[in-house]
Symmetry: D2
């Protein structure tokens, strides 16, 4: 293996004595050098989660061979696992509606390389953000959606996802609810930004709800999309202090910055293979 | 009036042209010197809120006369108002159960003078915290409560509130729900600390609920007590970042510090006459 | 005066009894309706600061007449004051070098109208960010600077400032030190973003300094530019938590987001006439 | 080894391929079950840091034997290492002057068991806090210090440290500078709380310095004490937002809460063996 390669091994399995030892010995035996590693044993679910970054040495077999060898270790511990090429950019499809702040923020981070990702497509049910996409040289697909054509539109989106070999769908204020079928197809690889500190203020108009309740902090939540609206596993949240002088509009303006930060951190954690599922919750390994 | 006196004028009324001018002219005419002032006009409820701190000058009449004169201004604008002696310590009754962190924190701030308050009584349905009260030389009333004696016990508490001329009741993790009658009697002068970021995780065991939902921040909320459980006007909130490694017990430990900070800030804002009611919300004037 | 007008009155003067009364009575007498007001008396410098937003009524004279009348009040109290048209957009000149994050962020907020400002010019000593300026339809001036041409280049910049009637110069990571003469000319209307929590890590390479010292938080500071490098009056600061795993590069990436937030909040406070000078410090009125 | 035992292994050494594998294999071979583990390879200093918590199994040798066996691994990698009994409470000596907030906070956390520590002595150069010590049943040593008796007093303190087998000295606002000799003796086991966000505002009166500079955030820093005043390795820092209305006294009041939080988190990290030295910096392993 060439020296400038880097891999990320992710593992999730029932907790047991000796897993760390087995995995790290395996890697040492394959002449791999661990540069980062984090793990967590959940005493409640009794499951073990691990993320290990390693660089191959002169005697490390190639990725295919390595995976084949590792599968023997994996089987013994009933692991759900993956060996990911850390240098391969994840392929994102971003879905938007008319709000552009999250898109603008993600594109900035994409452009600076802060986000280890390619963005082969932006999909929107409105034409408004086409010019922004263009400026970043990203193909923009205008796919209007209505009650009548929803199934059909989702099939179009799905075709795009398959044809472009998309790894992750990002709902960057898409403002549409995906069908249960679509949620199922995208399980674990579709991130939504909800503009409230969930589980507070589910559903529509969270900033108005927040204003009416008179909360002293407002927030945003990035979560995986599931069929259960606003109940998917939470990846990242943040809040900012507000007070009685904030109108719903000013809450929205503050909220935009929170949403940007939360969504971009969630996407980054996902593309760096840091997020592992633990039932209805996530383990985000540093 | 003597030069070392200081007063706080609080006002709430329908919004109108000229209120600030009228009030500040009135004070200037009475030879009073404004040292602090804050106001807020809510464009939604169309109500005006004001808090003004002033020191009397040589020609300022005494408090009683001043109030009599001000009542003419107040009537014209349909003001709910008060002139409070800023140097008079508010009298608090603290109610606790077995958890001692909020009590310990409040007593420390009381002792250092950070809280402009006297604490003539601590009431508990358990005897556990008597020694802590004793050390601070504060009378401790053990008033056990059960389904059977609840009405009676509340009457005892009420008698204490009346006899000791209590200004504010603080439920410092009291863990009991007050009767609607008691809530009504204490409207606007009873603060509770709820150990979650409301409206998330109402009701019992919020830290367990937070753990189950997998939130990435936990919080606490100080609010006025109303008959509508966990729905009273919010005074102050705060959160801290947590992650998947936090067990419910560790959440509780982090939560203790948040609760302490939130409750003490809410109590301080109240005793400094900074909190005004705006329907089901509060205006907290800096 | 037409009903959709809005003015901001700012005042700074020696503290005295009756200022608030005089000012608010004056406005009431002129049929003006105060919608926002904040003031602060500094017990240390013994100076008084005020910001009042008002809308004119049917009998309010026009701005010129109003100012003339107010100047009599102002004289009595030795006020430094201004009456600003709240709807007039402030004119910003943004100066950049090669880093684009602050520029990108400011332009986004400019485009959404979150920043009440026009940006008639972007000046840079490098050509790199021309395309970004172009996309936002803002004239880009490439004005290279060297030891030899520094005076001359600053004169070019100054001409631009005068010709374009610039209100505020924003150094959005300009990376050049302005001459004392230029600092003097721009006193109180040139904001710089320094990429550390001042007074920590003054001078060059603050992220490397922060990494070497092993601090657990990094920050950014927006301040008015003065001849005394990194010592100008601070307008806004913020920090984020970091740890031992952060390389200087990762600190920079985190720092970018902090810088964006801090600089945009400082610029917004300035263009909304919220920032008043108090010696070497600022008063930022909410 | 008995099943309710728990150990913490800490390691610091030059970075190398295979360390994690060697250590985890060693523990697996000794029938130990890893419950927590964190490590970090610093690419700058090229050093490796590790903290592993494990419970012994039926075939794990006793601690003495285990350490003997491990020393062979340790030697090969030039490790600085330790195997610590996680259930053994660390023994703290707290040194104070007249300020009681940090002491009060530490004692509260000690009493609730949140701090895994015993406190066999409190030393002060003033008698003021004796009653607080007494209430917590902790011996209080009044050891006045002056220019004349400084060496002698430090010897007394040192004797106490030796006789009571103190693990960690906590300067909880002790307000005295330890001699270079004392700093050397306590290297790596003496934590000080400095009431500013270092490296800002070193030396005396940091709140007054902060007030004069007009910073918008104030902070506190917990660090190991070295002969180089206020330059010791930083363990933990935090800040809070302030504004122009904060007098030096109000800054102090806000600062007390920050100091409490920062110092208690630093002490907890130390007694849980999470803090490892990396030159003049710390690695704090989660």
């Amino acid at each position: 293996m060439s020296a400038d390669k880097k891999y990320i091994l992710t593992i999730s399995c029932p907790d047991h004595t000796g897993i760390v030892a087995q995995v790290s010995s395996f890697l040492a035996d394959q002449d791999a050098f661990i540069t980062e590693s984090a793990h967590f044993g959940d005493p409640v679910s009794d499951r073990f989660f691990m993320r290990t970054v390693f660089t191959p040495g002169p005697y490390t077999p190639d990725a295919f061979e390595l995976a084949k060898k590792f599968s023997r270790v994996a089987e013994r511990f009933q692991m759900v696992w993956g060996i990911h090429d850390a240098k391969r950019k994840q392929r994102l499809l971003i879905m938007v509606s008319k709000f552009d702040h999250c898109l603008n923020d993600l594109l900035y981070r994409y452009r600076t390389g802060e986000l280890n990702a390619d963005i082969p497509a932006i999909v929107s049910n409105h034409p408004d953000l086409e010019r922004l996409a263009e400026w970043h040289d990203i193909p923009f697909y205008h796919m209007p959606v209505s009650k009548e054509n929803k199934d059909e539109q989702e099939e179009q989106v799905w075709d795009l996802i398959e044809n472009l070999e998309i790894d992750l769908v990002v709902l960057a204020r898409y403002m549409q609810i995906l069908s249960p079928r679509m949620c199922e197809r995208l399980r674990g690889r579709c991130i939504n930004i909800h503009h409230s500190f969930l589980p507070s203020f589910k559903g529509a108009n969270p900033y108005r709800q927040a204003h009416e309740r008179g909360v002293k902090l407002i927030g945003a939540t990035a979560h995986y999309v599931t069929g259960d609206l606003d109940e998917g596993p939470i990846i990242e949240q943040a809040v900012e202090r507000v007070d009685h002088t904030y109108t719903p509009d000013k809450l929205k303006a503050v909220g935009r910055d929170i949403e940007n930060g939360v969504l971009s951190r969630a996407v980054r954690a996902h593309v760096e293979h840091r997020v592992l599922m633990n039932g209805l919750k996530t383990v985000v390994l540093k």
